[in-house]
Amino acid sequence: MTTVLFYILGFIMLTATLLCITRRNPVHAVIYLVAGFFALALMFYLLGAPLAAAWQIIVYAGAIMVLFLFIIMMLGLAPQETPEGPGWRRWGPLVLLSASLMVCTVLLIMQDPAAGKEIGDFYLAPQAVGESLFGRYVLAVEMVSFQLLFATIGAYLLGRPLSKGEGQ
């Protein structure tokens, strides 16, 4: 069951990512990416992390990607196609190299003796995550919240309409 699910999810995620990075139209790319994030969230669930799966959907699929769609539509980028990317002649060798590197890495880690251990019997309840977050990591949580606050202020400052005499 877990095996079948893993392969299906992995296939969906990788295909969606591949399509996402090759589409010319940014709206298509966003949609493929949402599909990929969804598969990723299900994979988190498979790994016994229901809370992370829920965060993944709420934060990425529900908020960040909607923000991307909003910006793409507001700037009117949807209909125009992005120009052709660099050709295969220039980038082919790099692709080939990194692909063979990838294959080597995958083969290597598959041969590791510890790879035989079955995964997936670990399940983390939301309460445990909450206790750890607001107990041991409370300082980091505060820092991240400050970062979010600064990001909000920064986004506001960048996005506000320019006043007269500024930005020339």
Partner: protein, 355 residues
């Protein structure tokens, strides 16, 4: 022999059968409620405006939903030539499906004791139930945005852009109001949240149940407002504003696809009412701890609460004009969000002090 919880491991056949029956029943109830919500809304708004509403089809227009359905079914299917076909066709389903999926975690009664098994009256009990609801509530937006984008019409696109901005702003406040609830419940499972709300109020008054609307009145109000904004109901129906955007993201839609948008709107209304009832109004539990009330089955109470909240939403529609877009944004970011944050802080303080 003590009864055990029916699960996939102890008797898979019965489990799957019971699950299918539960899914079918819940689906039928939601769909029938959606069909009659359209009739009900026309009736209520009609009477509030001293009209009669639909009267011709059946007794007091009771067959009106079917007449509407048949009419829309036989209308001509029009697909604009400049539309992007696939997302254009899929968008209505993309709004409806998340709404229907959300119902899966709403409990509608106590555990049934049949034979040797305890069967929960809930399709599934996730231990991240509340987050599941937030997650799927956020996904419905893709249907609206894609419908607006795929139609390739400026009104539709404007509707889609408005919908996405509105969703991002109000989902934040909705999430924060729910946080105050599960700070009290200390669990994310809706089943346990309902169980906690059946205890005596504040541990003293045994006659009244401990509904979170009594301890969290502000969160209740905020959740109703943000919920209305999230499902694009009337004071906040900016994405489909008929009078400014020619019904926005569904301008180019016709026939059954338009009917699907309608179904999705009412299904979303039912879902948001059911969530509000479960989180704040005690779910399927009776409003007073009294013998006669406790004899009425749980799903009746849940449906009564859902229909009452839906009546309130229709009432709001008949009463309030549509807010302007900048007012909507200002309210979301400068009023609702700080209020929700303050509510979280105060709730936290009270919880700590009471410990």
């Amino acid at each position: 022999m003590t009864p055990e919880m029916l699960s996939l491991s102890n008797s898979p056949g019965i489990f799957i059968g019971v699950m299918l029956v539960k899914i079918l029943v819940v689906f039928m109830v939601v769909m029938l409620s959606v069909a009659y919500a359209t009739w009900w809304e026309r009736k209520i708004i009609g009477h509030m405006q001293t009209r009669l509403g639909p009267m011709r089809t059946g007794w007091h227009g009771l067959l009106q939903p079917f007449a509407d359905g048949i009419k829309l079914f036989f209308k001509e299917e029009i697909i604009p030539t400049q539309a992007t076909i696939v997302p254009f066709l899929l968008a209505p389903a993309m709004i409806l499906v998340p709404a229907l999926i959300t119902v899966a975690v709403i409990p509608f009664g106590p555990d049934l004791h049949i034979g040797n098994f305890l069967i929960p009256q809930q399709i599934t009990d996730l231990n991240v139930g509340v987050l599941y609801i937030l997650a799927f509530a956020g996904l419905g937006i893709y249907g609206i945005v894609l419908a607006g984008w795929a139609s390739n019409s400026k009104y539709s696109l404007l509707g889609g852009v408005r919908a996405s901005a509105q969703m991002i702003s109000y989902e934040l406040a909705a999430g924060l109001t729910i946080i105050a609830v599960f700070m009290l419940s200390e669990t994310l499972s809706l089943r346990e949240i309902v169980a906690l709300q059946q205890e005596p109020l504040w541990g003293i008054c045994s006659f009244v149940p401990n509904w979170y609307v009594f301890t969290q009145p502000l969160a209740f109000g905020l959740f109703i407002i943000t919920g209305l904004a999230e499902i694009n109901r009337t004071p906040f129906d900016m994405p489909e504003a008929e009078s400014e955007l020619v019904s926005g993201f569904c301008t180019e839609y016709s026939s059954m696809k338009y009917a699907l948008f309608f179904l999705a709107e009412y299904a979303n209304m039912i879902v948001i009412s059911a969530i509000t009832a479960t989180l704040f109004l005690g779910g399927w539990s009776a409003p007073l701890n009294w013998g006669l009330f406790n004899m009425i089955p749980g799903f009746v109470w849940l449906l009564a609460k859902v229909y009452f909240l839906m009546f309130c939403f229709m009432w709001l529609r008949a009463t309030f004009p549509r807010v302007r877009y900048d007012q909507l944004m200002r309210m979301g970011w400068k009023v609702l969000l700080p209020l929700a944050l303050a509510n979280v802080v105060v709730t936290g303080l009270v919880v700590v002090v009471l410990q």
